[in-house]
Symmetry: C2
Subunit: 727 residues, 2 copies
């Protein structure tokens, strides 16, 4: 099926079913107008990409009818108030097709999205523009930042899970206060990406019937025909994982068929819905249905061709006939009406269900339950005996999570090992499966780390601060999730990440499970609070920091093995990034040992073995927060101009040269053996470290003080491991 460009006989018809739809009104527009609208969008896409010779015109031209169906007829929103809580939410997983979204936002009446703004797409510009190359969450009508393929599907699953949960928690028979749909627009790419498949499997498992995914099935990728790399039967595949599937044959021409399919999709219950729509990429172009129209401007000649084909003047650009605005005129009034109706319902809801309404209001404002901080046990109430920091984190979970519906705590199949399960839990679960329902706040993400965090981004993006996803797996598998955690940081979406078994302490599982380089990524990642607490007290501090910081995700690296509660640790100092846990600021130490996590206790043991030196021990739970302190503070903690500073950490040395002259680190991948043996084997026994440090210090010690090494002078901070020691 490869129709030529629009001709009268294939012009879009109109479905009376439309009356039932979101923003649709009794007004029926003519076929001619609809054709004009579609072709205007196509010509604008061609002009906008040609203007600065770049961008992605093809999908916009091919899927124009899908965009019109969504914004003109199907979706519930109020252009005058993009943040209206009860709106439908739209995710453009195929982020490169952003022009389709920008143009629809413009025609729907979002004031910020003027044509002048949209014309900045790919424009020379010093500070970026709203019309970015991929949609950015900061701007009206954009729910999440997309671009890295596949993640948008998972974000949509998270938004749908959020909607289901709120509905289960707050809706009452006569008060459907939360009933918005989640619409996801995907191309072939997102369906090939594993994270998309993980999220699709999750959505089918959960039976999220408020999720409608539209597959812009244009069968063309950057490299050409999709058959070269992708021959899945997507409809059958999604049926096999619990989705309803509706197919539309001619999605570039047949607006009526699209509307019929989307109307039906809204009524289907018990499963998410895939609407598989066959489109012609670059519709109207001389190269329609081929690779070249995907990711490059069409070229002046082809733009002329498009204009002629679609009945526009070849030499006129950015033409928008008034009828196009007329066609969308009622979207704005209808949207305002819908919000007003909802506001009326909410005021009645507040009267009838004041408690639920108050809690919903609190969460809509992104506030935690009053007095939450005071519920965290003080240091004297923490276990005296050594416990793993992952278990200490579990104490915080047990304290905070049961009392505040804002928290959803889950794991990628390591619930018990990561201590994110909590008392009185109900599982977030497909009610049909029993053992839970949508009100549940304990989420079993399955063995899908990447989708877990991308779904978490959807939860966090539903409404700022309304959901705080707590997500957990072994630290090593936060590498699987890293592309999603990066998107959390880019969008400043808060999550609390629990990364347990964080080093060689995982022991017998061996080198495949022992991170060496991964911390460098999370430490270098902008906007990420990466914290490695030394004991239960610092774990408390990490939780306090994460919950007081609304704008950044936090990831806690936690030990598998027990660590003692250290006398010198202080939760209030976590925001400083590093502080003295043994020794005093008043005296200048000969040696400063700086460590993190489980190695802080070892640093203290090591100090005891260095009686000939004044030794200070510093805990550095967060390099980032330390870097944010004034240099006077940093110098007072790490006097690297007067004291020999030695770093101790069971990860690679990369990045430590900023803080220390030398260090004890992992210089290879790990091994499979019990953790105690591994610490010994890789040189982290206090005795071994004390001997090394003396060997470094002796030649540097002068009568009049220290011959302090300069930048990069010390071999011990060579970062690279070059061999995996196979026993």
């Amino acid at each position: 099926m490869a129709p030529s460009v629009v001709a009268a006989d294939t012009a879009p018809g109109h479905s009376s079913g439309l009356k039932k739809s979101g923003n649709v009104t009794s007004k029926v527009s003519s076929e001619g107008d609809e054709m004009l609208v579609l072709n205007t969008v196509r010509c604008l896409a061609a002009d906008l990409c040609q203007q600065y010779k770049g961008g992605h015109p093809g999908t916009v031209m091919g899927a124009a009818a899908i965009g019109v169906a969504l914004w003109r007829y199907e979706m519930k929103f109020n252009p005058a108030n993009p943040d209206w809580f009860a709106r439908d939410r739209f995710v453009l997983s195929a982020g490169h097709a952003c022009l389709l979204q920008y143009l629809m936002l413009h025609f729907s009446g979002y004031e910020a999205w003027t044509m002048d703004v949209i014309k900045q797409y790919h424009a020379p510009n010093l500070h970026g523009s709203m019309a970015a190359g991929h949609p950015e969450i900061e701007y009206p009508g954009v729910e999440v930042t997309t671009g890295p393929l596949g993640q948008g599907i998972a974000n949509a699953v998270g938004l749908a899970a959020a909607g289901k949960q709120l509905a289960a928690q707050y809706n009452k028979d006569e008060f459907p206060v939360v009933d918005g749909k989640i619409w996801c627009f995907t191309g072939d790419g997102c369906l090939q990406e594993g994270v998309g498949q993980e999220a699709i499997s999750m959505a089918g498992h959960w039976g999220l019937d408020n999720l409608i995914m539209i597959y812009d099935n244009n069968a063309v990728t950057v490299d050409g025909n999709i058959d070269a790399c992708f021959t899945d039967d997507t409809s059958a595949k999604l049926k096999a994982v619990g989705w309803h599937v509706i197919e539309v044959e001619d999605g570039s021409n047949d607006l009526a068929a699209i509307l019929k399919a989307l109307d039906e999709a809204k009524t289907l219950k018990g499963k998410p819905v895939l609407v598989n729509i066959r489109t012609i990429i670059g519709f109207g172009s001389a190269n329609q249905n081929s690779g070249p129209v995907h990711g490059a401007a069409l070229g002046a000649d082809d733009v002329e061709h498009v204009k002629k084909q679609l009945g526009f003047k070849p030499d006129e650009h950015f033409v928008i006939p008034p009828k196009v605005y007329d066609y969308f005129a009622e979207v704005k009034t209808e949207g305002a009406k819908l919000e007003a109706e909802w506001n009326d319902m909410m005021s009645k809801y507040k009267e009838t269900y004041p408690t639920e309404a108050a809690e919903l209001q609190r969460r809509m404002e992104g506030k935690l339950v009053d007095g939450w901080a005071a519920t965290i046990p003080t240091k004297d109430k923490l276990p005296k005996d050594p416990i793993p920091t992952r278990k200490a984190s579990g104490i915080m979970v047990q304290t905070l999570v049961p009392n505040d519906a804002s928290f959803v705590a889950g794991s990628a199949d390591l619930m018990e090992s990561t201590f994110v399960n909590f008392k009185g839990q109900t599982e977030f679960q497909n009610p049909k499966l029993g053992n839970g329902d949508y009100s549940g706040r304990q989420i079993r993400y399955g063995i899908r780390e990447f989708a877990m965090v991308a779904v978490g981004n959807g939860l966090a993006a539903y409404q700022k601060g309304m959901f705080i996803p707590i997500m957990s797996t072994f630290f090593m598998f936060w590498l699987y999730a890293a592309p999603a955690a990066r998107m959390s940081a880019l969008q400043k979406l808060r999550f609390i990440g629990i990364a347990t078994h964080d080093a060689i302490g995982i022991g017998e599982d061996g080198p495949t499970h022992q991170p060496i380089a991964l911390p460098s990524f999370y430490r270098a990642l902008p906007n990420m609070n990466f914290i490695r607490p030394a004991d239960a007290e610092e774990v408390a501090g990490a939780w306090l920091l994460a919950l007081e910081d609304e704008d950044h995700p936090s990831l806690f690296a936690l030990s598998r093995q027990p660590v003692p509660l250290l006398p010198g640790t202080d939760r209030t100092k976590i925001p400083l990034g590093a502080y003295i846990v043994q020794g005093s600021e008043d005296e200048t130490p000969d040696l400063t040992l700086v460590a993190s996590g489980a190695e802080v206790a070892r640093a203290i043991e090591t100090a005891i073995l260095l009686p000939d030196y004044k030794v200070r021990v510093v805990s550095m739970p967060s390099q980032k927060h330390f870097d944010e302190q004034p240099s006077s503070y940093r110098r007072s903690v790490l006097p690297s101009n007067r004291s020999l500073v030695v770093a101790i950490e069971a990860w690679g040395a990369y990045g430590w040269a900023r803080y220390a002259h030398a260090g004890c680190h992992m210089s290879t991948f790990g091994l499979s053996a019990p953790q105690a043996q591994l610490y010994e084997n890789f040189g982290f026994s206090p005795k071994n470290m004390a001997e090394k440090i003396v060997a470094w210090a002796k030649p540097l010690r002068q009568k009049d003080g220290w011959d302090i090494p300069g930048v990069g002078e010390f071999e011990e901070l060579l970062h690279n491991a070059t061999e995996h020691h196979a026993g």
Copy 2:
């Protein structure tokens, strides 16, 4: 279907069909013996985990019959020569079930796998052992290191693709010199992981009928019943992506049914085969079919229970009745026979097809075509005009790849942008789809970056040096692939990774596509050659380094935008990691500017704007290789004790404090704008950088030289970006 433990009436039968199978012989063992073998394996698993109170007994006990079917009857191998080229290859994607593999290797007659060695599983041990917590490639009978779930499936797909390619290139009608099957053992976890799904889609697309994947369908995960998180209809899902599917109802008892299914699987053509086998995890345990038996020792009482259930003495441990060895006795002789037959065929093949045989021999020895290095254009033959380094890399691809069948060059749907396509290419493709066949060395991996690299690990693991996978995508999406690249480094599997559009130079695609933190991961990763060439000459050097290093993967970060060919660059100095491109070693510079990639040219332009200083410019394509040089060389290039060293790189500053006192770096995420504007906007214009450097230098300059800053003294190497600047 939940059968109780083995009873006479459910004891394994025996299929006469076995005669046709891999290692099977005319000898028919009795049912009693087979039951005894299965129960011996189960009791050993229980004992081995109980011994040191750790490990994964459940899958071994549940899938014992699958292991016996594979090693005793189905697979082709020679225990006396684990590296026999024509063997079948087995991948334990569910790596935690390693005891199953270790025990089968022992019973099959692999000398290295004594029971004493296997008893070291989880044993206190200073240097790791062969019986690691997950299978490690260094040891006999292990084809790839597995453990991180999902990747084993992709490794198996790579091994199968390798086998198909070699068969297409070298087999002749009467000489099936390459005809081994690839067997993959997977659990629920690998099927939930996105990388597994990506690889499954690829294998179905390619129609790899030499791949047989066995799904140990025990319906239980660490966290309990699989229904809590995973309700895919896996059989239907795989049918939808082009797989044959065979199901076995009772995989814990019915060995005959397993053998029948595997026999059939070997005969099916045109598609990969899933054998979906329902098993009872922890078969024989009081807790069989539940979470607790998955990842922990059973406990002394349950071990006793197991022994009683399976007819062993509760108080005896590690019992192996002689009949068990008898049962496997012929595997060794049969394996030797099969290799001898193949050797005979090979000698005839050498006579009949000397050319093919010689090339196959060369590749089996992991050698490149003689004189390959000399074919790389010398500097004077490289383009004089500025070109992107990605395009320069394309010159090397065009030079090397067509002439050596060892290379397979592919991309995750960015073939044109990454310049890995080469002249005279044939696509590696399912012949049924046309447009290529299995002999093709141009691979379209689809939009599946993670699976691309995990499949590449399978190609590289087929036989050391036989395949050199060249794999490409934008640098940002090497974050999707990072968990597989880490496994390449851990296993020392060589690939050549092409990471283009490596910084803000990608421009309009915006912050979602602009890496800031990612380089820190690859620089900190042991065994990885991460190289960022400054121009076409350094690109040549990067390729030379990568191809001369058989034991490490290499990743090249390459520019989207054109860069000039710099007079001072020298391919022979890439192995030094950093070297002087402007200025001389003889004079001590006032200022040393150290840069990488596209920023080296900017550093040179900046130097010109600093006439009041003696300025040296250093190119640092590889921090790792620089760190491996003697301190005398490092000091001679970066005299940070006598010269102010300033780093210039359009990534985050993390890690640079080891080399420089200050730097010009990205301190936030990027923006969507043309690349030239972004370099300007983020402070990388030579004018702006020169002004900054003068401002830093002035106060430090003394009559008698420099007041050199100490470790961590300079604000300009604060690594953390804290805000995403939204326009």
